[in-house]
Symmetry: C2
Subunit: 327 residues, 2 copies
DNA sequence: GAAAAATGTGTAACCGGTTACACATACTAT
DNA sequence: ATAGTATGTGTAACCGGTTACACATTTTTC
């Protein structure tokens, strides 16, 4: 593989000139440019990005930290991150943390040793301190890590309020809220939105902890539905949990939406694949991912951030797990 | 950040000795070891992996090329790849190719410039030639690229045969095969398995092209079911397509599995979330991913490969979209 | 007791870029 | 005519590791 010195020799200029040409920096005469271009083509020269990184202390790698890429929520974000990254010449390093602070730490350290340019974080560990003292750009996606870290989230509170209100409008009087894990900011916001929507409406409510996992959600919903036959509505804090609840209802022979209405949150692809289609408070995941990535790249490239905290609006997707008006 | 020269100075030895210590290579006396260990702790020294890479022309990055991480099939592979990679100190670079040969080429080139250590490829472009002339280790996962490239696949032919035979056993007499895209090796093998299973059984069959996409699959299935009311079985080449068919059947008021039985292929998480649960020919995706990654790492680290072509067995998962024996 | 092998260490070149700085020339302004 | 600015270029140090090679000392072998 040809290197920059070969190009310099072949084009009759110095490496500095070639480097200036490559980086569009400083003065390079037209003749020099032409000669260098020719040499580059001749030699099929490609700059060695590792050498460049060593010198500049910067790579074009972005670390994307997700709890588990198998959870269908995250690929939708990852996809958006990757698209924007590619557009700006970056590549994405995938890090599954399993919500394990240690594993997450490990990734942060290793990638730092590899001069990663920045991180997009979709996890909510106690590593807050780590991220702050890290002097690398970080953007929090879908969950807030710390006030000092740029964040892209949905309007979770409003979304939950909207979804819950819709359940009430459609006639639910005994609603269970399958809330997400404690301490996860969006989950907390959604419970708050739920509670606010329900307040003073004379609704019988039940708030139950429920992880963002299908199997666990199904089991929890099954138990609840058995123990409380009067439940006629489920507000789930995630589509995965809603899917679990739907499956549980089917298993118990409870008709959805006639006897039980269910509403999810997220708007992942899965929600439209279920039968009936899942009514859900859809986040614009793709948009969230692109915004977060653009913020990160801005920050990497030393521009001041256009915004520090972005809230993407949320949209109620009405499908088959709630009764439609016309019935 | 301390560098190796700082460590050398602080421990009173030369950089060569420190380097030998770090890499467990060559002779280092006990005293030197102790002094270096101390210095490393003192200075909180972490080797600069970029500098190392420049010198060794090797990184610990693995490129994972997938068509689209949003397709739930691929995260399950990605997860396995990542787990094994982490175990061996590698990190995974995520590349969505969108089945676009050009995009794929772009990734291959860029990552080569970054000294990526090897590739795991789950796409089936015409880039065969590229991969061959690439003098980097490559492993093909879930699809064969070329005889010269180590490959990990499922027993697709046998699986399709098994699934189709099961449909016949359960009474299907007019089966449609939703086959995957042309030229994709596993899709071809599955059609072949289907055709073999059906041969001479007096089964009315229909083989239809159908991409691995939910929406398209639903639309195609809908049309087929409307045009051919006698169809009583669907053998889909992927769970995604099967999910589309299931949704189509529901939409048309066709009861599954009473009037129509459906069987998928892949065994992704989605299959158990549907109602009824999808009967499917399950691949052991996690295992496939781990084997592929281990092969790649073996190859990167210069060991001769234990196997060149691995076929992972497949398992029929009987769930609710087929009639169970006891009915 | 001499030769051979094993152990231990340091110097300096190398990987392939970037860039500070010195220097040269051409143009512009006064 | 002269200073000042814009344009253009090259040398060499630097980023932070690895490693070939030379050399010294100790241990083993016969």
């Amino acid at each position: 593989m040809a290197n920059i010195r070969d190009v310099a020799k072949s084009s009759g200029v110095s490496v500095a000139t070639v480097s200036r040409f490559l980086n569009n920096k400083g003065y390079v005469s037209q003749e020099a440019k032409a000669a260098i271009e020719l040499a580059i083509r001749d030699l099929n020269y490609k700059p060695n990005l590792v050498a460049r990184s060593l010198s500049t202390k910067q790579t074009k790698f972005i670390g994307l930290i997700v709890p588990d890429i198998v959870n269908p929520f995250f690929p939708e974000l990852a996809r958006a991150v990757e698209d924007v990254a590619l557009q700006y010449g970056y590549t994405v390093v995938l890090c599954n943390s399993d919500e394990d602070a240690e594993k997450e730490m490990h990734y942060i350290e290793t990638l730092q040793q590899k001069y990663v340019a920045g991180f997009i974080v979709t996890t909510n560990e106690s590593n807050t301190a780590q991220y702050q003292k890290l002097d690398l750009p970080v953007v929090a996606l879908d969950r807030k890590i710390h006030a000092s870290i740029p964040t892209v989230t949905s309007n979770n509170h409003e979304g939950a309020h909207m979804g819950t209100s819709y359940l009430i409008e459609q006639g639910c009087r005994h609603i269970v809220c399958l809330r997400g894990p404690r301490g996860v900011e969006p989950a907390e916001d959604r419970v708050a939105g739920f509670l606010e929507a329900v307040k003073g409406k004379g609704i019988n409510t039940l708030v139950v902890d429920c992880p963002f996992q299908f199997d666990r959600s199904e089991a929890i919903a099954k138990r609840l539905l058995l123990e409380n036959p009067s439940i006629d509505g489920v507000f789930a804090s995630s589509d995965i949990s809603a899917a679990g609840a739907l499956k549980a209802a089917h298993g118990l022979g409870i008709h959805v939406p006639e006897k039980l209405q269910i509403i999810g949150f997220d708007g992942i692809g899965l929600s439209s694949m279920l039968t009936p289609g899942l009514t859900t408070v859809a986040q614009d995941l793709y948009k969230m991912g692109t915004i977060a990535t653009r913020l990160l790249i801005q920050s990497i490239e030393g521009q001041s951030l256009s915004e520090k905290e972005v809230r993407v609006p949320v949209q109620l997707m009405i499908r088959g797990t709630t009764r439609s008006e016309e019935r």
